[in-house]
Each structure stands twice: as structure tokens, then as C-alpha cells.
């Protein structure tokens, strides 16, 4: 039922649900059955009232002339954009026939389901929506988790590794807590562009006298607001963190009580095997669970629980046992990164490192907003590890205004929590096999992947040395893509097209979407999805509220909601039974499940059904407020015996023992590609960052007319010195290239960029470029700790467009499907 605000239009509850993760509550204004406006709807706590430029343009998306609203069947080669218009009946028949055939031939796991992040609606989205539910029921393969995982893997290492390698993502504070900070560090995030909704909390912090430090190689918009802008060399962030750790330890800026009580600082580490010293090591019959420290009160080694004053600094043998305290070991590791030494790597002046470290340690409460700029690197997990380490060393965690990250206490985080939505998303009790997105390239392309195989198949967490990295067969023959434009958002586009989207690799591809995206072009069958305003749903966001979204308008053309789409498909496959209850009942089920997870099922459901919005978690919810860390020692582990791995197949249980590739302490490893030591640097001297801008959310909103009037064409940016060096001019058409691929775009001068950096605002589709695509340039190598895409760890060169450059995208220029057969051909 519409809410009548006044008599001009009908107003419905709605929300904007893409992967900026802000998920703003909206009103959908409907006149004569048409969506004419979206406006910000109030939150119960008005501090969360917000919208952004993208969230206001929905009418232009919903009624876009580029919207594809009928099912299509491929009528040319994959990628050729030649289609036949078909009925839903025929489409369901083709999809059902192919999925059954492939299941019967290769097994159900040979059918892959690849949601990304195009919608966070819990019924129709990519997190626990129709595609996930169908995949679980089908027992297919669900492709998952290869973006935003590096930083969380590193943070988890220190604070919550027992919950899984990526748990650190949602173990943070609510964003309004940034107001309470005195020192605020924004590390590798241009949030005024990518998450502008969080900016006003920072603006409030600054108005109250807070101090902002931004660590970014570019003068991003947020950087220019900083009192201290640290222009770090791209990819050197773990070294800068070690440099800060060195200052914190050498100048004794520690929070002594915190470090002694809640971290592994006083725990003694055996020099022979790097393990923590246990009571059983020093006393026959001693406990294997009791860690040993040196008690300063009497100079004796004893169990942690019985020590009066555990010593923090122990750097020599005690009672004949060769040990050092974890804190002393950290100091030794960090010693090589004295600011005067590290400047050669980080380019950050030593004075500035000292200033920033001192301000962070002493200007408490201090808060870190760690962004996903630093996540897009092969060494991204080491940044997360360093960030969590400086937080626990200075006690800046779990307190008002002191923490890491603003994704905690959120409705979205609750929806991610394992098991919460099982009643809805696992209707038959079966689950899909998870496969990392980067592993998926190998599975589809080569039929085999490199996989950690635990020594004890029954218990991945069991000891007994390193799990073996073995080549195992993995057959994937069909792909179902929904809420995802993976060809535009995953790295190494040419490899994806050639190896994964080839007919030799994937026999059948079905994609549902609203537009002719890069990915849709490679579908065998296209199914039209309804927009967020054409079906009902429930959604959370990076705020504590669960929101109702109503069906404000009828589906455009023949579009279907994901629920109806997968229901139809399930019925064709004789699997329709779990899909017969009406959507409204499932929404109630989801809301009640979320309510139960926070211990207030009835209250949450009542708020939701009466007001269309329910608060899940109270204001001030902060991870680690109780100083309980979810690690093997129960303490914050800047030193660890094992390292958790973010592979969805084995996480959270698999841990790697310390060895060549993984270390006990925070450390620096150079980026995989974009680092001066790499010989490729001679040929490709520019680090290439594909930035999140305010103009799109990943690739969504790529074709919204109002946005394209301001941001009208793609461009690569260099500073004036790099432009002059190449004898180019701002405004020239240029070729951006490396060994993997190229793109031809306009060049624009922007002195925000340091020397040696090219930037591109991501999300443009191939047909919007003269030639090539930005994801042709990025690399798909796998880091086998965090299994995250290292988009920014990429080198390119920019040069003149050669006269013989084939303008390859000419064939792809159409923005809408070319119908060559069927109705309307």
C-alpha cells in the first residue's frame, strides 16, 4: 500500500541497494503508475538520513531506452551482440534443459552460480537472494569472495582469526562513532567519492576539533581536507605501517596496560620453533593451554594467569630457555623500518611518519577508516595486519571514537553472519560448493585448480604441518550469472573472455540483468530482471537498520524479480516445492531470523511491519568493546603461530603454519607487479589504479543520462609531468596498454596524481570505450593467503594512438541488443 504523503503522487518505501554498501532508505514517488522521483526517506535516527547523486537518478535507470525487457537467445557468436527475442517459456525450457544436461553429465557442481554485488536485497539480491537459494538447492558451485578480502584477512589475523579470515570486515564500529574520534586516519579510501554518506560524520569530527590524516598517493578529495596528507608510494603501505610501529615502540608510545592485558605482547616465543612457550614446556605435567610469561615481580617464568606483572620486553634467554617476548620480536622486526630507512620505500618524510605515529598513539581516541584502495594489492592483507597492530598497540580499539573500520554493528554485517538466513537461503538443507572467483578462472578454463588439501580431511584445522597445495580436478561447464557484471568487474578481461567465456570452457551461460552489460554480451540466454522498484524485498546496509522495500511499480516489459525467475526455473526442473510460499512470507521469515540473531525477534518484526524499518543493533555497538579477541590465544595477536587463509572452501578452519610465504609478525612484502624492483617497470612505468568514483557503483549507473551529462566520457589521468614526458597533450586520445591488453581513451591532466601513476574511473562498459577495456589491463594472479583480486597491483604505459590501432570495439558499439530473429527483428 502506498503511503500518501500528499496528493501529488503515491509514495512507497524503497531503498537503493547497490554495492557502495550504503543502502540508503528512499521514498519511491509514483504518478500514473510510473516512478517519477526517488527522495531520501527518514531513518529512525536522522543522522543516517542520506541519499547521493546516484540514488536520485533511478527514474532514468528504470525507464532507460537501453533497458532490455524481454528474454533473448544468442543468434550469433558469443560477444557478437546478435539476438533472437524469445518467450519466457522458451527461455526457461532452454535453461532447464542445459542445466539438467550438464548436471547429469558432469555432476551438479559443474553448474556455477556467479552473483557479485549488484543488489543487496535479501530476497532478490546477491548476498542471500534467489540465485544463492537456487544454487544451494541445486547443489551447484557458488563463485564467491575475491574482492574486499585482503584487508579483512589481515585485520582478522590480529583480532578475530577464529571467526574466519574475512571476519575483520564486519568487526568494526558504526560509522557515527567517527564523530567521537580525536585523531582520524583515512587510509587508502576516497570516501567522499565512494561512500559520500559517511563524510558528514567526519565533517562533524573536524568541526569538534578532530584531526584528519589521509594516507593516499593521490590528492583524493578526502586527502585535500586533511591536516596531514601522507603521500605514500603506491603499494608500500605495509612498510609505512612498520615504520609507524617502529616509532610507537622506540618512543614508547604504547598503551602499556592495554598491551599487557589484552595482547600477546608479554607472551614468550620459543626461538627454536617460533611457538608460544607453554607451561608444559617448562614444567613436566604443565598445561599445554597455559602461556608462559616472565613475571617482573619476581623474575620467574610462570603461567600467564598466575603472573603478577608480566614483562613486556624480554629479549634474552630466561632460565636457560631461549625465548623472547612477542613485543620484543615485533620491535626487532620493525627496527629495519626506522622512518629514515623506510623513506626509500615509502617516500614519506621521516618527520611526517613520526608526527602521524605520535598523533595516532597519543591523540586518542584514534580511529582508522581503512578503505579498499589498499585492499586491491597483493600485499593488501599485510596492510590490514599492520593497521590492526597499531590499533592494539595503542589501545585504539573497541572504545568510543577508537577503532578500525565502520562496517560494524550493521544490518548488512548481520546478514553476512553464517547461518542467520539459512531458513530462507538453504530451503532443502543442501548447500552449494563455494569456489573463489580467481580459482573459478582455472576451474572453467583448465578443469583443475590448485587447492589446499588439509592433511586430515576430517578436520582442516588439525595440526601436523602445512596443508598441501595440490592440483585437483574441478569441472565447471555452465554458468548462471545474476546481480553481477563480472566481465567488467573481475580482472584480466582478455583471459576471462578467451579462457572462461569460450564455448570450449563453458558450454552454457545464462545471465539475468537489466542492461546489455559486458557480461550479458557473452550469454547464450539473457533473462530480463526487474529493477529494485518493481518487486518487494528487505535489505540492510552499512547502518544498523533493516528496511522494507515495496513494489512501487509494475515490472517493466517482461522483467521478472529474481524470486520469480528462480521459482520458474525451479519448477521446470521439478524443484519448485520450496518456492511456493508467497514472497511476503519469506520477507517475514528473513526479518524474524535477523531479529532472532539479535535476540529480539518480535520487536524487530513489529518495528519492521509497522514502520517499514527496524533497528537491529543499538547505537554504540562496537566490536571488541569487551576486549575479547577471537584468536587462538584469546588475545590480540600481532604475533601468531599460524595464519588464516581466505579460501572459501577451507576457511575459516584452515591455517597455514609460518613459513616462507607467511610470517608470524607483520611484515612487508613488495607488491606482485607494481614495484620498482620488477623488470616490467622499465616497459610499463605507471601504476594503474581503477578508482571508485561518484559517477558509478562499480559498473552500475554506467548509462544514466543525468550522470553522463556531467561525466560524459572515459578518460585516463596523468599529471602534467608524465604527460609532457610522453609528448602528449591533455585531451589527446591515447592508448593505455601492457602485456595483457589495452584500452583507448581520452587523456586528461590531473595533478592530483603523483609521478608514475595513471588513474581511471572504473565502470565504463567496453562499448563506451573506443577500444579495449580497463579490465584487460588488470591481473588475475592468486595470492594464496587472501585470495583477493589485486586490481591496483598493475603496471601500464600510456602512449599515442598508433594510426594502425584497430578500433576493436567498433563491433561492440551498440548499447542495446541487436535483434536479428524472433519478434521485433
Amino acid at each position: 500500500m502506498p503511503l500518501k504523503a500528499h496528493d501529488k503522487s503515491d509514495i512507497y518505501f524503497s531503498a537503493c541497494t547497490p554495492n557502495c554498501w550504503m543502502n540508503c532508505r528512499l521514498y519511491a514517488h509514483v504518478r500514473d503508475g510510473r516512478l517519477v522521483e526517488t527522495s531520501p526517506a527518514p531513518f529512525p535516527d536522522p543522522t543516517y538520513n542520506r541519499v547521493c547523486l546516484r540514488g536520485l537518478t533511478h527514474p532514468e535507470r528504470v525507464y532507460s531506452s537501453e533497458r532490455v525487457t524481454t528474454p533473448l537467445k544468442r543468434a550469433g557468436k558469443r560477444g557478437e551482440n546478435r539476438w533472437e527475442r524469445i518467450s519466457w517459456d522458451e527461455a526457461f525450457d532452454i535453461v532447464a534443459e542445459n542445466l539438467s544436461r550438464i548436471r547429469d553429465t558432469y555432476g551438479s557442481a559443474a553448474v556455477g552460480f556467479a552473483p557479485l554485488s549488484g543488489n543487496y536485497g535479501l530476497i532478490n539480491g546477491a548476498l542471500a537472494g534467489g540465485i544463492n537459494r537456487f544454487a544451494n538447492q541445486f547443489m551447484g558451485t557458488q563463485v564467491a569472495e575475491a574482492i574486499d578480502m585482503a584487508i579483512p584477512t589481515g585485520i582478522s589475523q590480529v583480532t578475530c582469526s577464529n571467526l574466519g579470515a574475512s571476519a575483520g570486515m564486519f568487526m568494526g564500529h558504526q560509522p557515527d562513532d567517527m564523530r567521537n574520534a580525536h585523531t582520524l586516519i583515512v587510509w587508502g579510501a576516497n570516501l567522499t567519492e565512494s561512500q559520500p554518506h559517511n563524510w558528514h560524520f567526519i565533517a562533524d569530527c573536524l568541526d569538534r576539533g578532530g584531526q584528519l590524516t589521509v594516507i593516499d598517493p593521490r590528492l583524493s578529495d578526502i586527502a585535500r581536507r586533511a591536516g596531514e596528507w601522507v603521500r605514500v608510494r603506491p603499494g608500500s603501505d605495509p612498510a609505512l605501517l612498520l615504520s609507524m610501529i617502529q616509532v610507537i615502540l622506540a618512543d614508547d608510545l604504547l598503551d602499556h596496560e592495554y598491551v599487557a592485558t589484552f595482547t600477546v605482547a608479554p607472551l614468550l616465543v620459543r626461538e627454536d620453533d617460533g611457538k608460544f612457550l607453554r607451561e608444559s614446556d617448562i614444567r613436566p605435567g604443565g598445561s599445554t593451554d597455559e602461556y608462559v610469561v616472565l613475571d617482573e615481580a619476581d623474575g620467574q617464568l610462570k603461567g600467564l594467569s598466575s603472573a603478577a606483572k608480566p614483562a613486556l620486553w624480554v629479549a634474552e634467554s630466561v632460565e636457560g630457555v631461549a625465548v623472547k617476548s612477542a613485543l620484543s620480536l615485533l620491535r626487532e622486526e620493525a627496527e629495519a623500518y626506522r622512518p629514515e630507512e623506510a623513506v626509500a620505500m615509502t617516500l614519506v618524510p621521516p618527520d611526517q611518519v613520526r608526527r602521524v605515529a605520535r598523533a595516532y598513539a597519543l591523540g586518542r581516541p584514534s580511529f582508522i577508516y581503512s578503505g579498499f584502495g589498499v585492499d586491491r594489492w597483493d600485499n593488501g592483507d599485510l596492510v590490514g595486519r599492520g593497521l590492526a597492530t597499531i590499533a592494539v598497540l595503542t589501545g585504539n580499539i573497541g572504545k568510543p571514537g577508537a577503532g578500525i573500520g565502520v562496517m560494524g554493528g550493521s544490518a548488512l554485517g548481520m546478514a553476512f553472519a553464517p547461518g542467520v538466513l539459512d531458513a530462507w537461503v538453504c530451503p532443502t538443507g543442501t548447500v552449494a560448493q563455494k569456489l573463489n572467483y580467481l580459482q573459478f578462472y582455472d576451474a572453467a578454463g583448465k578443469g583443475k585448480i590448485l587447492q589446499y588439501v588439509p592433511r586430515d580431511p576430517g578436520d582442516a584445522a588439525a595440526g601436523g604441518g602445512a596443508p598441501e597445495l595440490k592440483e585437483v580436478p574441478y569441472v565447471l561447464k555452465a554458468l548462471v550469472v545474476g546481480c553481477s557484471n563480472l566481465l567488467s568487474n573481475m580482472p584480466d578481461q582478455n583471459r576471462l573472455i578467451a579462457e572462461v567465456f569460450s564455448e570450449q570452457a563453458l558450454e552454457f551461460i545464462v545471465v539475468h540483468d537489466e542492461f546489455l552489460t559486458d557480461t550479458v554480451r557473452y550469454a547464450d540466454v539473457f533473462l530480463p530482471s526487474s529493477s529494485w522498484f518493481e518487486h518487494e524485498d528487505v535489505v540492510g546496509g552499512l547502518h544498523p537498520f533493516l528496511m522494507k522495500t515495496e513494489k512501487a511499480i509494475e515490472p517493466i516489459g517482461e522483467s521478472k524479480s529474481d524470486f520469480d525467475l528462480y521459482k520458474g526455473l525451479a519448477e521446470r526442473l521439478g524443484m519448485g516445492e520450496p518456492w511456493q510460499r508467497p514472497v511476503g512470507e519469506w520477507i517475514e521469515e528473513v526479518v524474524r531470523n535477523m531479529g532472532r540473531a539479535v535476540g529480539d525477534e518480535e520487536g524487530v518484526w513489529r518495528q519492521f511491519s509497522e514502520h517499514g524499518i527496524a533497528r537491529l543493533l543499538p547505537e554504540g555497538t562496537r566490536a571488541f568493546a569487551d576486549n575479547v579477541f577471537y584468536t587462538p590465544t584469546g588475545r590480540a595477536e600481532f604475533y601468531s603461530e599460524t595464519v588464516p587463509v581466505n579460501d572459501p572452501v577451507v576457511s575459516p578452519r584452515l591455517r597455514l603454519p609460518v613459513g616462507d610465504k607467511v610470517k608470524s609478525l607483520p611484515y612487508f612484502a613488495p607488491p606482485h607487479e607494481a614495484w620498482p624492483g620488477n623488470p616490467l617497470y622499465e616497459k610499463y612505468p605507471l601504476v594503474f589504479l581503477t578508482l571508485h568514483s561518484r559517477w558509478r557503483v562499480h559498473s552500475q549507473f554506467y548509462n544514466v543520462p543525468a550522470l553522463r551529462e556531467i561525466d560524459s566520457e572515459p578518460y585516463v589521468e596523468l599529471n602534467d609531468r608524465e604527460i609532457a614526458k610522453r609528448k602528449l597533450k591533455s585531451g589527446d586520445m591515447v592508448r593505455v596498454f601492457n602485456d595483457r591488453g589495452e584500452m583507448v581513451v581520452r587523456l586528461r591532466e590531473n595533478n592530483a596524481n603523483p609521478d608514475g601513476m595513471a588513474t581511471f574511473s572504473k565502470g565504463w562498459q567496453r562499448h563506451q570505450l573506443v577500444s579495449g577495456g580497463y579490465q584487460e589491463l588488470t591481473d588475475s594472479h592468486i595470492n594464496r593467503v587472501h585470495f583477493n583480486c589485486s586490481f591496483f597491483d598493475t603496471l601500464v604505459e600510456v602512449g599515442k594512438v598508433k594510426s594502425d590501432t584497430a578500433f576493436r570495439n567498433k563491433r561492440e558499439r551498440e548499447a542495446v541488443p541487436a535483434i536479428v530473429a524472433g519478434k521485433g527483428a
Binding site: K8, E37, L56, Y63, S64, L707, R721
Partner: protein
């Protein structure tokens, strides 16, 4: 004292996100390429590009729309009497009287007036927004109305409601109890090109000064922003 509607924009809070510009465009059902509210990048040559050199880059943003001057030069030059201002300070155009001569575009020191060249927007086939905004015919001049339909209903202009940075304040400048009145009393807000004595009702809290960086007013004087739109 008579009511005087006014707006204050805190340029320290403005992040140039263009939410206000897009909100205005949809709410007022603006035609292709027509923007009543533009966010000017003060710095480099293009949207979001910085100024200065690589060692000392700088940038900020100035949202620019009709300044609702109390002595509006556009009104003085209007040959048809279409432009007028109300007692509460809102400058409006009677679209039935406008002959599209664009003398006001020449007279406006802020480049706020836009000629409606195209008939409608081509993206959707119906009017966007609540439908309460007065439609404009092709070939006339138009501009920001302070969302007159909304403020007459007791709401704020839409750009104020949507601003993610909470950078905009709206109210009665003559009321010392209002937020805008309090900011005015604190003396932090300035008009753009105050020396022209057109008495704008839009005020700006200038960005915290960085050495060598010109202010919005200085740049407008130098013709670096607010170039006529045509």
C-alpha cells in the same frame, strides 16, 4: 522584520558530489543539458581535476545557482517584466512573459541563468519530479527558484534536504533564532562578489585557507568559473 529567505553553503563540508545538482535536475524536470545548479570545480580545468602543480595540488568546489539577489541585475535588464522578486527575497521568472532574449544571462554575474534550448529531456517520456513544479516552454530562460513550491509548503529546497555533507543551510536570514541567522551573526559567511552590491541571498563559508589558493569570489572575478553556459 520581513522574512528574507536565504541559503548558506559551507564549502568545508561540500565534497563536490553533485548530489544537489542531480536532485535539482530531477525534481525540477530539467531538459537535456539544462542544469539550474552546477557544482564548479575550483582548481583544474575539468570536473574534479585539481589545480596547482604536482608538488602543491589543491582543489575545492563551489555549488553555483541563482543567488537570489536583493537588487537583481537580471530583473533590471528584463525587457518584458518577466523577472521579479518577491517580498521574501525569492527571485522568480514569469515564464508566460519571458521572451527568451537572454539579456538576463548577460547581466547575471553568476552565470546562473540557463536558456531552455531543447524542448524536454529525451531520456523518459514523461515529467520527472512530483509534478508540482511549473512547466517551462522551450525558448525561455530559467533558473533556480529556491524550490519555491516546497518552501511555500514549509519544506526546505530539495538541494538542502539531500546534501550528503550537511553543507547547506536554509532559512530566514532576518531571523536571528534560525540556523542561518546564527551563522550570519557569527560573521563566517560571505557573498560571492559582494562588491557588485547585488546583495545575494546565498552565502558561503569559505574553505579553510590554504596559502596561495584564491577564493571563490576571486576566481569568479577572473572569469575562471561561472562562464556563461551558452
Amino acid at each position: 522584520m520581513a522574512k528574507r529567505w536565504g541559503m548558506i553553503i559551507d564549502l568545508n563540508r561540500c565534497i563536490g558530489c553533485q548530489t544537489c545538482a542531480v536532485a535539482c535536475k530531477i525534481k525540477n524536470d530539467l531538459a537535456d543539458d539544462v542544469w539550474w545548479n552546477r557544482v564548479i570545480t575550483v582548481g583544474g580545468e575539468t570536473v574534479d581535476a585539481v589545480g596547482g602543480d604536482v608538488e602543491h595540488p589543491w582543489v575545492y568546489y563551489v555549488p553555483l545557482a541563482c543567488q537570489h539577489c536583493q537588487d537583481p541585475p537580471c530583473e533590471k535588464v528584463c525587457p518584458s517584466g518577466a523577472t521579479y522578486h518577491r517580498d521574501d527575497g525569492v527571485v522568480l521568472i514569469d515564464y508566460d512573459l519571458c521572451i527568451g532574449c537572454r539579456a538576463c544571462s548577460e547581466a547575471c554575474p553568476y552565470g546562473a541563468r540557463v536558456f531552455k534550448r531543447s524542448r524536454e529531456h529525451t531520456y523518459v517520456a514523461f515529467r520527472l519530479g512530483e509534478g508540482d513544479v511549473v512547466p517551462r516552454q522551450q525558448g525561455i530562460n530559467e533558473k533556480c527558484t529556491f524550490c519555491v513550491e516546497r518552501i511555500d509548503e514549509g519544506l526546505t529546497p530539495f538541494c538542502v534536504e539531500v546534501c550528503p555533507g550537511r553543507a547547506r543551510y536554509f532559512g530566514d536570514l532576518n531571523d536571528p533564532q534560525s540556523t542561518v541567522g546564527a551563522i550570519m551573526a557569527a560573521g563566517d559567511a560571505e557573498q560571492l562578489q559582494a562588491e557588485l552590491q547585488t546583495e545575494p541571498s546565498v552565502f558561503f563559508i569559505q574553505p579553510r585557507k590554504t596559502k596561495g589558493r584564491p577564493t571563490g569570489s576571486e576566481l569568479i572575478r577572473e572569469g575562471m568559473v561561472a562562464a556563461p553556459l551558452e
